[in-house]
């Protein structure tokens, strides 16, 4: 009697298993056909980047080095210059070594001008380690403050 019960229970468990896989097979696949389909990355935090403010069309980094000081991994390398007659400095070099960055976000919190943010990039790739050092000023081109176009 016990053996019969075991067989019946075993069969039942097999059917339950088939039911589960059968149900799952009808649900939508989670795969993305990657290069053609891309995930929605709007709520993700990628490598740190400088904010472009719409009012000025450029970033607002004053090269205060607060981010460099608080960074636990020592990722930053920043240099600045004071434009003629201005009170605030402007960054002339802003390197972030992404190979040591842990995306902790302390730099974003500490920035006095709120000019740092997470980017939405998720597919950065490089062949050499030196290429992981991001030049955050590169997208901005000539600095309008240092050129004297903005005060």
């Amino acid at each position: 009697m016990n053996a019969v019960l075991r067989v019946v229970r075993g069969l039942q468990s097999l059917l339950v298993g088939l039911g589960i896989t059968g149900r799952e097979s009808l649900r939508r696949a989670v795969t993305l056909q990657y290069p053609r389909e891309r995930p929605d990355a709007t709520h993700w935090g990628g490598p740190i980047e400088l904010v472009t403010f719409p009012a000025t069309g450029t970033h607002d980094c004053i090269a205060c080095n607060a981010c460099a000081r608080i960074c636990p991994s020592d990722c930053f390398e920043i240099e600045g210059k004071r434009p003629e007659g201005a009170r605030k400095m402007r960054a002339t070099k802003f390197f972030l070594d992404f190979s040591t960055c842990s995306l902790c976000g302390l730099c974003i919190d500490v920035c006095p001008t709120d000019t740092l943010q997470y980017s939405r990039r998720y597919d950065d790739a490089a062949f050499h380690r030196v290429q992981t050092v991001n030049d955050l000023l590169a997208p901005f081109g000539e600095d309008p403050y240092l050129m004297g176009k903005l005060q």
């Binding site: 896989t21 059968g22 799952e24 097979s25 009808l26 649900r27 696949a29 795969t31």
Partner: protein
């Protein structure tokens, strides 16, 4: 087809012409069928795991297996130095022969099977037992411990599971009163409910389940795939085979699935009989339905341990199949 037959018959004579045409047609169909089944397997596996399966080559990956076959064709054929050379070379060729013979016996219409036999079922059972010999040849001649273990396991498994398959087929034979597969499609001998003929699965559900389990084991498929258990035996009996020789084993496995699925469809699901559609389409649809269930089971259940597999066959399936046979005989006797 018949014009071609006449042309060939003029050169080769009637018998040889039929043979050549039949083999060419069957091989062509079976090749296409294997390519389709492998694609289907990967699709079923993908969707069960909520993936998409092959998607890149052709629409929904339909040409993926064609690309794979071309790749296998171009690969080096490797023979181990210590292998028993002739047996090693013969095994992948022989493994396909019984399956091809069995495929020609499956009736696809009212008067259409490639070879008709009054005792078709017996011939099929005898022939499908031959596949295991070539699998054992492959395992033995490879001179590899994993391969020989896979071969031994395969023999033990097929010997054990042939019996319940036969017994469950026999209980249908008792009702149908024939061994001729052609006559399994005779709706007059089917069980009737309110004057409606029903396939044998309705009166023999236990036999049908045993048959399904048995053919899954006979085709060495998960959860009974211990002869080629990847996690234990590398590839089992085909460990040492590469390229197209490996593909021949693959080919034989999937063809065997198709043939045994079609046999199951003939015995239990009413064969080629069905409304509207032509007979050959019905039997193929039914066979594919059986195969999809086998694939579904493969991607659901974990692989059995060897002793579990054996005790399952000898302690459960065979007594159950025997009991089912006796009950069938008693009920038939009582009715008569």
């Amino acid at each position: 087809m018949s014009v071609l037959h006449h042309l060939l018959a003029a050169v080769l004579g009637d018998f040889l012409a039929s043979l050549v045409l039949g083999v060419v047609f069957l091989m062509g169909f079976l090749t296409f069928n294997v390519l389709f089944l492998i694609w289907l397997e990967r699709k079923v596996a993908g969707h069960i795991q909520r993936r998409l399966g092959p998607m890149e080559v052709g629409p929904h990956g339909a040409l993926q297996t064609v690309a794979d076959m071309l790749k296998l064709l171009s690969k080096e054929l490797f023979t181990p130095v210590a292998a028993d050379r002739y047996t090693y070379l013969l095994a992948p060729i022989l493994v396909f022969m019984p399956t091809l013979c069995v495929a020609s016996l499956i009736p696809v219409g009212d008067a259409a099977a490639f070879a008709e036999m009054p005792y078709g079922l017996i011939v099929i059972t005898a022939l499908s037992g031959l596949t295991v010999i070539s699998i054992f040849m492959a395992g033995w001649s490879s001179n590899n411990k994993y391969a020989v273990l896979g071969g031994l396991r395969s023999v033990a498994q097929v010997v054990a599971y042939e019996i319940p398959v036969l017994l469950s087929a026999l209980s249908v034979v008792l009702i149908a009163q024939t061994l001729d597969l052609q006559r399994f499609g005779d709706t007059r001998s089917w069980p009737h409910l309110f004057g409606l003929p029903l396939p044998y699965v309705v009166v023999e559900p236990v036999a049908a389940v045993i048959f399904l389990i048995g053919i899954t084991a006979e085709t060495n498929r998960a959860p009974f795939d211990i002869p080629e258990a990847e996690s234990e035996l590398v590839g089992g009996f085909h460990t040492e085979y590469s390229g197209m020789r490996f593909a021949m084993f693959f080919f034989a496995e999937y063809t065997n699935m198709m043939v045994l699925g079609a046999l199951g469809a003939t015995l239990f699901l009413g064969g080629w009989k069905g409304p509207l559609l032509p007979g050959w389409l019905w039997i193929m649809l039914k066979a594919y339905a059986v195969i999809v269930v086998m694939m579904w089971a493969r991607w659901t259940f974990p692989r059995l341990r060897f002793d579990q597999l054996m005790s399952f066959a000898w302690k459960l399936l065979i007594p159950l199949a025997l009991a089912n046979l006796v009950v069938t005989a008693l009920v038939l006797g009582a009715i008569a």
